[in-house]
Symmetry: C2
Subunit: 314 residues, 2 copies
């Protein structure tokens, strides 16, 4: 095991997967493209905050490290392990862009991955625990000195297999990102609002609804925002992680901890998440997310704000 | 056949069903309560416009005419036919409040209903063709002199059985209200945005997404608004018609035809629809819709506006 060189202090640390994906959708297909939760999260967040470090494992065959560098992302937490990179193959049907149908998963070097944070990362103010084994998420959290805000994502696989550990983690983090189905399954509630009420506690819970946007519980208030309407969901892979990258990237850009965040700031953060997810799905892989400029983001955020503004009361 | 007395000029005419419903939901049940598309539409719209006339058929057993009068709704277009009122029984499961499961339908006097508009109704500026047989909808439209705006609702039943007639009607109206599934089925498109693009033409198409809000195509622009988050969808019956009542009621309150409506006004109309639907589902039948005050509506609209406002850009 070795690391890419030159560890530096960062503001946001993300731990998650880096993968090589092969994807089919009604709009075409793409083979062996960059993927993984840490990839999407960090690229999205890099548009809002330029001090991001990635903790993940790749194989010696991984050809996309330059992608991270092109976005100014620190890869000294990326472990290069002898062997092959995690590979995922999946497809989407037109009638349900929210549902990824897995065709194969080869964990490869990801299998035995035990995250070990470079020393300068341990001082980071913001931490995002992307969807991996809750035991590893806990491990990473324990290595951090005193993060101001910790975000967490998970998936049904862990909800079924490591429920207790997941609940323990819930109490240790500040922002939980869940799909609607996951929120319902975790709580046993059939209504999303009830599910939110059941787990909200002193945290922000952001429930992702795919093409229907999101519903968030924040300091006792529940708010819904629609998705930005995209004509073609070319490849929905990574939308959730790009969403989280937008949220936490924006929060990091304004600074401070949970106490300091106002509701309007949280809403704006979710709006950034919404916009990042909308760019993400416009191309296969993180291609579109890599291309967009500050101007593109500003313009789409304004369009979104305009779309949900009811205009002046006559 | 006879009519209730005293026909007067009205601003909005709605033609649809008036029914006696029996409903079960995870929150309880209610027997023999007022229902039907014309009922929900007119009560919702009556909060925004006080000149509404209802065209529908009821049996001699219908005990709820006072409900309409209590909201200032003209019932001279309501035909009282010897026999029993249309009855519908249905239920909702907690995991899908958008789906009404029909337990029985007894058309009764609704079966042979041929709408015949009182003369003063024929001058109305706004017409809403609630979900009934497209042949009857066309019939009613032909009786109108020169309505400024015509709204239309339909359901999968007619999409399957009277597709051509429905498409003909589409070209004769200004606002089409559809459920998401219906919009997809009509166009054969699997994506809602594509479905909107396929039928938008020179009309407003409002696609109702239940707990996920709405997506609207208006003068070439597509906008999404979320639903107002309601903790308990006690009885979703009538939500779609209350929604349309809010939209058309607001449009009638500002006056004018399609050309004059600005995008911000259309959005505000959809917001009123959203709010009316949210009140509708908070009780069995139109009970809550009957109770609400101008102040309740104003407050909830402000809350909704606040919910989707991202606050000042820092």
């Amino acid at each position: 095991m070795r690391r890419t060189e030159g560890s530096r202090r960062v503001k946001i640390v993300v731990v998650g997967s880096i993968a090589i994906d092969s994807i089919k959708s009604p709009y075409g297909s793409a083979d062996s493209i960059p993927g993984g939760s840490a990839t999407y999260f960090s690229i999205a967040a890099s548009h809002l905050c330029n001090e991001i470090g990635v903790v993940a494992a790749v194989g010696t065959d991984f050809p996309y490290t330059d992608l991270f560098h092109a976005r100014g992302i620190d890869t000294s937490g990326m472990e290069i392990i002898e062997g092959k990179t995690f590979r995922w193959g999946g497809r989407y049907e037109e009638d349900n862009p929210n549902l990824a149908i897995t065709e194969y998963t080869s964990l490869n070097v990801f299998q035995g991955f035990r995250p070990n944070l470079p020393n300068p990362y341990r001082d980071a103010e913001y931490l995002f625990l992307a969807n991996i084994d809750p035991s590893l998420q806990k491990d990473v959290l324990a290595q951090m000195k005193m993060p101001k805000i910790v975000g967490l994502d998970t998936m049904d696989f862990w909800i079924e297999r490591k429920r207790d550990e997941l609940f323990e983690l819930f109490d240790m983090v500040d922002m939980i990102f869940l799909n609607e189905e996951e929120a319902k399954r975790i709580t046993g509630e059939k209504s999303t609002i009830k599910a939110l009420r059941a787990i909200e506690g002193n945290r922000a819970i952001v429930v992702k609804r795919g093409e229907y946007g999101s519903i968030t519980s924040f300091k006792g208030t529940i708010f819904c925002l629609p998705a930005y309407p995209v004509e073609m969901a070319v490849d929905p892979t990574g939308a959730g992680d790009s969403f989280a990258g937008g949220v936490i990237g924006y929060i990091a850009s304004i600074g401070g901890g949970m106490e300091g965040i106002r509701e309007s700031e949280m809403k704006r953060a979710v709006a950034y998440g919404t916009i990042m997810a909308s760019f993400c799905i416009e191309s296969f892989g993180p291609k579109r997310l890599m291309e967009i400029s500050r101007e593109d983001i500003k313009r789409r955020l304004e369009e979104f704000e305009d779309m949900i503004s009811l205009g002046r009361n006559p």
